[in-house]
Symmetry: C2
Subunit: 329 residues, 2 copies
């Protein structure tokens, strides 16, 4: 089977690029130093490759991701790096799944305990205005959790506000400040884990005991701008369906691409805009109806979430097709 | 079952609002005057309601939508308002499905004929830089299609470039100019159909023999700004998972919302930003962990495409759950 046999639009993974990215990261952050985030690919087949390279545990963003990873036999140490108002789905997971849940409030600690969860981390706001308690509240919450019978494995804090800063020094400085806050919280809360980091700070965050990176595996045009040692492995295959003197149109659009980071890129061409099922672009060299083109998505996570499959390629050959089996909630 | 039993995020349809929207449109554009576009909802159960109110045919954007509508028994007159480089999937559809395919070039006419399609419309560029031939080329293409044994049912031309213009007079003027171009193409190409229009021009486009509106059924915040007689029927239910002194966070984000038209809206609150699985917002009145909130998506089509179900509600009661069964390609 080749890429010409695929119905378009279709997500392609360059198998060699993926392996190189996984290998680079696993070498730099061996074993428990890396806790790959599955939200970037939502694919247990890809997670299996990460596990084969030594990843000791995984990070998840949804209960569905936790359940799917556990069902796939990849659940020996799953961190749900997100709060739940109702944790009963996690409490119901059969052994040997081991799940640690983020909590950042009295209410989420109560939800964890009531839902049957046994282990938690205290989620600390280190600068990104999202979830996480105030750093100075981490100790109190850890005590509350322990009083409620929960094992506190440590703290987490995502420095997402610096993750895509183009300047490396600024990313480093922002990471240091964020980890200063998380370190103080950790001192108050206790536990062995200080979980943080992402693809943009994978080598800058030297304070975290484990890095929660996800995008490094497949990459996207936003992360590609940072000069990281990870290469674009994910492209969107589309078919040209219309050509005029001014522009051309291919059969992929808003329902095949996460758009919050803007338009996708096409090598040697200018993308004008995306519609529901179309991308309108000005090609650099003439294209014809039926020609296959490749687009580089701007944001990997919400792009993958639109697709049922990831097709692993070697040149034009499709060597495997992996279900995106962690979609939904 | 109530909305409190749903796993969030979940898309809700206000059943009464939907029925009012469908009724308003079906009354103004009875029978063949309306060809509802299924790309906005990708749901055969919703299409069935449109058919019950008299819609004589439907518009589709993908081969998958055509196949799904035909399989659901809603295929008596389907227009695929999009070009295909390979039309064999349409040619294979069993009777009584009737499919008309848009063509805009020698190559797509050849693809239609070779794929076993029997009926086409000439797709004309009326101002939106996307698919469609130059208006002056429509006559030549119609002759070519007929020479190739295809039945030419007429022309189509989507005035998408004026669809969301906030000023009604500007929309009207733009529609008139677009339909002048399409009318000239129609005179050259022949056939009974002049298919055009959308939710933003549903009553302004008095030249089209049929209007291809789709968004009117569920609506979104972009169309809501136009002062149309259609009301927001689609909302996204989410659960508050984190509350701080500065903001709150609910469990829906970039993987539950089409983002190309910007952030969703929350009544009485200010949305700050969306992340993969979070919306960060400043509530107008205090919220608590576990509270359910509703968001109004900015763009209906790519929002629905992220979800497996649409839940029809009557107040807080869930009266039906419809599969979004036309997703994928």
């Amino acid at each position: 089977m080749t890429v010409y046999d695929l119905t378009t639009p279709a997500l392609l993974i360059d198998g060699a690029m993926l392996d190189a990215n996984l290998h680079t990261m696993a070498t730099a952050l061996p074993g428990r130093r890396l806790r790959p985030h599955v939200k970037a690919h939502k694919c247990t087949a890809l997670a299996r490759r990460q596990a084969a390279l030594g990843a000791g545990g995984f990070t998840c963003a949804t209960a569905r991701e936790v359940e799917g990873m556990a069902a796939a036999g990849l659940g020996t140490d799953l961190l749900l790096a997100n709060e739940l108002a109702d944790a009963t789905r996690l409490g119901r997971l059969p052994a040997p799944a081991r799940v640690t849940l983020a909590v950042d409030s009295d209410a989420t600690i109560e939800a964890a305990a009531r839902g049957g969860v046994r282990e938690v981390v205290i989620d600390v706001n280190v600068g990104l205005p999202r979830c996480g308690c105030a750093p100075e509240d981490a100790g109190r919450l850890a005590r509350l959790a322990r009083d409620r019978g929960l094992q506190v494995r440590g703290v987490m804090g995502y420095e997402g506000h610096v993750m895509l800063l183009p300047d490396r020094d600024a990313r480093a400085a922002g990471t240091a400040e964020a980890m200063r806050l998380l370190g103080a919280a950790h001192a108050d809360a206790g536990g062995e884990l200080l979980s943080a980091g992402g693809t943009g700070t994978w080598d800058l965050n030297v304070w975290a005991t484990e890095i929660q990176a996800g995008s490094y595996a497949l990459m996207d045009t936003a992360y590609a701008k940072l000069g990281l040692p990870f290469r674009p492995a994910l492209s969107l295959l589309a078919t040209v369906v219309s050509v005029s003197s001014h522009h051309a149109v291919a059969d992929c659009g808003l329902k095949a691409l996460g758009m919050d980071h803007g338009n996708p890129a096409i090598d040697g061409a200018t993308v004008l805009f995306c519609s529901d099922e179309h991308v309108t672009f000005v090609p650099g060299t003439p294209v014809h109806v039926g020609e296959r083109i490749r687009l580089w998505p701007a944001h990997v996570d919400p792009t993958v979430a639109y697709h049922a499959h990831l097709h692993v390629t070697d040149g034009e050959r499709v060597v495997e097709s992996w279900p995106v089996d962690l979609r939904g909630w």
